[in-house]
Amino acid sequence: MSTLFARFTEAKKILLLLLILAALLVMFFIPTFLSKYSVYLLTVILFTALLATSLNISLGYGGMLPLHQAVFFGVGAYAAALLLNKSPLPPWLSFLAAPLVAAGVALVIGTVCVRLRGLYFGMMTLAMGQLVWAIVYRWYEFTGGDDGIHGIAVPQVLRSIPAAYYTALIVFSVCLLIIYIILNSPFGIALQAVRDNHQRCESIGINIRHHQLIAFVLAGFFSGVAGVLFVILERSVSPSLLFWTKSAELLIMVLLGGMFTFLGPTFGAAVIIVLGVFLGVITEYWLLVLGTVLVLLILFLPQGVLGFVKEKISSSAPERKGVDKYAQG
């Protein structure tokens, strides 16, 4: 029975791997047969999916409630824009440094917030995030204020939609792989343990604040990477990138896809963006739509779409994970 089961999970793993490779292959050739607008849209989906996945490091895996993840996206984007336009750094260094700036801001906000729990944590991230937004919005000389920054000096080779798309595809794939590895490392398992039970974690010797802070900073870093991808595609930034409604949208994406699944946020991001395009993003209506999605989710699919699918797949047998006895080698 147990060997049979092990073989089953092995087969499932290989199947999944093949599926991912096939998807990547299709994604690779997409610019040759889809319209420019579709490729543009896919690029948006890719960096938004990365952003939502990074939010889920804190939310689904870390048990924190970051109500304002978009701040790190915005900071990453602004940092890239400012470094490209105003610093003597070569572009590739600017691209690397921008996520680090986002991680730095996450370190500051996180240090304050991990002292708090639950909703208090959430309110504090929201308050501090809006503070960052206000600074960006008001500081005309440095950030361009509410005008934002336009005509960002993105290197010539990246200034086309296919180039931005391929960059996003590669960066998205690499980042998701790294995040996957981290979440399945001892650090990741301990993070999920922290999510599950603070008290118990403390008594088995885990410093929960420390652990959550590291996860929060990692999430900030990857959100910053998404911000860089945004800059490469759009070559302009505005304060709306780090307004709180952006964060609310991200939360809904994660909830829709399923926050206890790795690919849920990616799925949620794709659905919400496509939905937005079809409905035409008229602001008031858009918030109404998002609100409706949220209500329906809470009522009918509290575990999200992929969470629901996962539940269906594993409902025949009690939930198992693929660790075979004495698989060490």
Binding site: I182, F187, I189, R200, S203, I204, G205, P318, K321, A327
Partner: protein, 245 residues
């Protein structure tokens, strides 16, 4: 090994622990008994750092641990199980124990090794010892109540503690489960060379395995000593009026 002196814990003026005294020597099995609300769990929470004492001292291996946080106390060698089930509900049985071993080995900041290949033998060694090895890959919350209580203990064992605190390890168990759990505790104490401090309401169990007993009433230690002395103690008899000793 553990010395608790004149310990007091006040919750907004209510003295849940009010003059607790306790000495535990290396290798001993010690029981803390007392009626409901006597302050046993609060005493445990004070020892493991989940609560900060209002007054008094707690020494472990000659060191004052009163102001330390729980994770530091754990790394000094004290681990515990909880009265109410306190496990990691979204992790498997295997991972529940594995994470505690990872923490002891200070590997939880490792971000790049796949966990499912780590410490497999060690984790199974503990699971086999407590008899949960065939349920290793189940989600922890799918276990029966009794098995979850055992998992409680297995998580604590993952820390390889020198001093193991068990808060009512058999609470809510059937008589058969209670018997096998007690047997397990006894075996563990012998095979692992553990020092064990436990609370328990079933006096037969207590007198069956404890080498020393401390009795609490309304937060206060009213007696401490060998089982035979406790049995003969007038104060204890008064506190447990009507129960058979």
């Amino acid at each position: 090994m553990l010395k608790v002196k004149k310990l007091v814990k006040s919750f907004d003026g209510f003295l849940a622990v009010n003059g607790a005294e306790l000495t535990v020597e290396k290798g001993q099995i010690v029981a803390v008994i007392g009626p409901n609300g006597a302050g046993k769990t609060t005493l445990f929470n004070l020892i493991t750092g989940h609560l900060v004492p209002s007054e008094g001292t707690i020494e472990f291996k000659e060191r004052d641990i009163k102001a330390l946080s729980p994770h530091k106390i754990c790394h000094m060698g004290i681990s515990r199980s909880f009265q109410l089930i306190n496990i990691f509900p979204k992790l498997t049985v295997f991972e529940n124990v594995q994470v505690s071993i990872l923490s002891r080995k200070r590997k939880i900041l490792n971000m790049f090794s796949p966990t499912n290949k780590m410490l497999v033998e060690e984790t199974y060694r503990i699971l086999e010892k407590v008899g949960l090895d065939d349920k290793a890959q189940l989600l922890s919350t799918s276990l029966s109540y009794g098995d979850q209580k055992i998992l409680e203990m297995a998580i604590a064992l993952g820390n390889e503690p020198e001093l193991l605190l068990l808060d009512e390890p058999t609470a809510g168990m059937s008589p058969e489960e209670t018997a096998s759990t007690i047997k397990l505790v006894k075996e563990l104490a012998r095979s692992e060379g553990l020092t064990i401090l436990f609370t328990e309401h079933d006096l037969d169990v207590v007198f069956g395995i404890a080498e020393k007993i401390m009795v609490m009433q309304q937060g206060k230690t009213i007696a401490q000593g060998l089982p035979a002395d406790i049995r003969a103690n007038k104060l204890v008899q008064a506190a447990y009026l009507g129960e058979e000793f």
